[in-house]
Amino acid sequence: MQHELIDVLIVEDENELAQLHAELISKHPRLRLVGIASSLADAHIQLESKHPQLMLLDNYLPDGKGITLISNPLLARANCSVIFITAASDMDTCSQAIRNGAFDYILKPVSWKRLSQSLERFVQFAEQQRVWKIVDQQNVDSLYQLQAKNYRLDNGSKGIEENTLSLVQALFNEKSAHCFSVDEVVSETGLSKTTTRRYLEHCVEAGFLSVEMLYGKIGHPRRMYKRNAV
């Protein structure tokens, strides 16, 4: 099956960096470079004339900030996605880019590996959009997943390990009628308090444990954990 090429526009005022990006794109079999813009105004013109599907957008440009381009209606009309590139210390702008639905954001100094991954993901994203004629929930989820940075959602990402989990669960299986506070679990298992909390809350979420509030004489109520009846 013949793949169509994806048109890419680079918006970057630093010539050397723009050339490096261009090289990266031209090496990719599925991407085609349609232009390099070195200013906001230039970017506007090239967006209009060349209709790219993807734009690598630098934030600091001689005539303004790249972030202002992200919410531009021109992008929506052209159906153009943005990979936003900015300095690592500019976290607030990143948050703005997230809000405006940038496909991805890469921090400077740019890691080529990270940029390549991002481009690869976009190619997949564009490809799937084109291939799937019928949209069902699974397709949408998959697309959304690609846009949402491809994070693994297995147990590992929740920081739950089987060994530790069974250690905690064993404690409750032993004394199923007993209410445990975090401190008691800590002293029994030897885990750190924050880790203990994570495991306990995981168990609550999984329905293994339930929570009771213990109202003491002074201060705030304490949270007690108890094994759910099987």
């Binding site: 300095a87 690592a88 210390s89 976290m91 607030d92 990143c94 948050s95 703005q96 997230i98 809000r99 954001y105 890469i106 921090l107 400077k108 100094p109 740019v110 890691s111 990270r114 949402a148 940075k149 994070y151 590992g156 990402s157 929740k158 920081g159 739950i160 975090v182 401190d183 800590v186 750190s192 308090k193 924050t194 909390r197 994570r198 809350e201 995981h202 609550v204 979420e205 929570v211 509030m213 002074i218 201060g219 705030h220 109520p221 304490r222 949270r223």
Partner: protein, 545 residues
């Protein structure tokens, strides 16, 4: 040279009185002279007519008995104040002269006898033997009705003038004394005026009034001046706008303050008399304001108060802007600092020809941040929360503290029971506290652990630091307003806010000691908010189970 207001007022007062006195004096002088002449001519006439009807004299004149006339008249003349008394016969010859006895036998001087000889009394001013005189002549008529002689009683004008002058001199002396009294009075009067108007010139006062008016209207704060009866004297445009008063200022003037602003403790007479106040937070007609009140004293007696107030929301937004600016400055400083460090390291590596390490170093610079960015943006759906966490993380790093996000972090949909602004406030405050506590702990700084997790049941926020911890003496009171462990800046508010937000949503807070040191704050906020949406509670319980 400019003459001061006091001198001007004094000089004009004096000039006015002097002219007034001169006019009055002139008028009086003329009037007195005229009156004296009238009075004296009457007197002369009566005397002359009285003398003319004395029977003895009539006989003696008829018989021209000069000796007898002389003896008789001498006695009368001695008792009279007239300058002269003259008796003449019906041919105009002197029969008697009270001053010059040698004139007897000579003709009367003046030539005004014709009318008298016909039987009429006359009064004339003529030059006679003694000089100019006012004199009255009366005919002496015998029993047969025939004019037999003339009586002439006269007053010299010089004599009359002396009387007038004496009178005028007396008046003049009185006038001068009065003037001196006025002089002194004017001096003290102008001085007291001067003192009352704070030694200001009238032009300056005018300018002040204008300035005050312009000032009152130009300032952004509401200003109200009230008198000691709590009635409004001045109210400026801003005050009317803030209080939402549509009436013009002149209609409000004279109204009681309680008619315009609903009574609050700020306006009770007792507190107002007690002391002035500065930047007090209170409510004027449901508007939260920051108000100041100052007493106006004039010569130790209370004249009223001036009240100024500002909308508190404006001040809040101002301070928010200010902290924003501070943050930008802070960010710039961080960036510059980091950049310098990087360049130094990089140039060192390049100098030594360690190119691979240089590349590795450059890659490493963004690696951590990129990982964090990817992690946060994938775990939290709220851009605002992402921004907050990224920002706090960057700032913490600059302060030498690492924020370590728990791998279980996840909040992929909006949390309805808690408004986003409050969520941000809670997390921001917890992180700030943790970062500062860690900073104050001895090196090396342990990371601050953060868990933000939203599941079906509740939102869990846990921030654990290994900082200096909470002092035992304030342990039980940390959520009270004004209780703080911080040493700088604004504080004593953060935990108070957190607690009120969390309890309002029916959540709970646990505070525990971390090991080996520091504090763990754990917040649990149920996904079915109770306090905020009491009506929904029942329906939602069903749904959740």
């Amino acid at each position: 040279m400019k003459v001061s207001f006091q001198i001007k007022l004094f000089v004009s007062l004096m000039a006015f009185f002097s002219v007034l006195f001169a006019l009055l004096g002139g008028y009086y002088y003329a009037e007195v002279g005229k009156q004296l002449y009238q009075e004296m001519s009457g007197r002369a006439k009566i005397q002359a007519e009285e003398i003319a009807i004395i029977p003895t004299l009539r006989n003696e004149v008829e018989q021209k008995d000069i000796k007898a006339i002389h003896n008789f008249m001498q006695k009368i003349a001695e008792r009279s104040d007239a300058s002269f008394i003259v008796i003449g016969d019906n041919r105009g010859q002197h029969l008697f002269h009270s001053v010059f006895s040698d004139r007897v036998g000579t003709t009367l001087v003046g030539g005004d006898n014709a009318e008298v000889l016909q039987g009429k009394s006359i009064t004339t001013i003529r030059k006679g033997g003694l000089g100019i005189s006012l004199r009255s002549k009366a005919p002496i008529i015998n029993d047969a009705g025939k004019v037999v002689g003339i009586v002439s009683v006269g007053y010299l004008t010089s004599y009359l003038d002396t009387i007038t002058v004496n009178k005028v001199v007396n008046i003049l002396i009185a006038a001068v004394l009065l003037l001196i009294a006025l002089f002194i009075f004017s001096w003290f009067f102008t001085r007291s005026i001067k003192k009352q108007i704070f030694s200001l010139e009238p032009r300056e006062i005018g300018l002040l009034v204008r300035q005050q008016k312009a000032m009152m209207e130009s300032i952004y704060e509401g200003v109200i001046a009230i008198d000691d009866n709590l009635r409004i004297e001045v109210i400026n445009q801003a005050a009317r706008k803030l209080l939402g008063l549509s009436q013009p200022a002149r209609e409000l003037r004279g109204q009681l303050i309680s008619q315009v602003i609903a009574p609050v403790p700020f306006f009770t007479l007792h507190t107002m008399l007690e002391k002035d106040t500065h930047d007090e937070i209170c409510h004027f007609n449901e508007l939260t304001v920051i108000a100041s009140r100052v007493r106006i004293m004039l010569e130790d007696s209370l004249q009223g108060w001036v009240i100024t107030f500002r909308d508190r929301n404006e001040i809040d937004s101002l301070s928010a802007q200010l902290s924003q600016v501070k943050r930008y400055v802070d960010n710039l400083r961080i960036m510059r600092h980091e950049q310098l460090n990087r360049m130094t390291t990089l140039s060192g590596l390049l100098h030594m020809g360690r190119y691979d390490e240089a590349i590795g170093y450059i890659q490493a610079q963004s690696e951590h941040a990129q990982e964090l960015l990817d992690f946060i943006s994938s775990r939290f759906s709220s851009p605002t929360l992402c921004g907050l966490l990224l920002g706090k993380s960057a700032r913490a790093r600059e302060k030498g503290v690492e924020l370590r996000f728990d791998p279980a972090c996840r909040m992929d949909k909006p949390f309805i029971p808690l408004p986003e602004a409050e969520l941000i406030s809670i997390i921001g405050n917890l992180l700030d506290n943790a970062i500062e506590a860690t900073q104050r702990a001895p090196l090396p700084h342990e990371p601050v652990e953060v868990l933000i997790k939203l599941n079906e049941l509740e939102l869990i926020i846990e921030v654990a630091d290994q900082g200096v911890g909470i002092k035992p003496e304030i342990r039980e009171r940390i959520f009270e307003r004004g209780i703080t462990t911080k040493t700088r800046g604004d504080h004593g508010i953060g935990l108070y806010l957190i607690e009120s937000y969390v309890t309002q949503t029916g959540g709970s807070i646990e505070v525990a000691d971390n090991t080996p040191r520091g504090v763990i704050f754990s917040l649990f906020i149920p996904a079915t908010g109770t306090a905020r949406h009491p009506a929904q509670e029942l329906e939602d319980t069903d749904y959740a189970t």
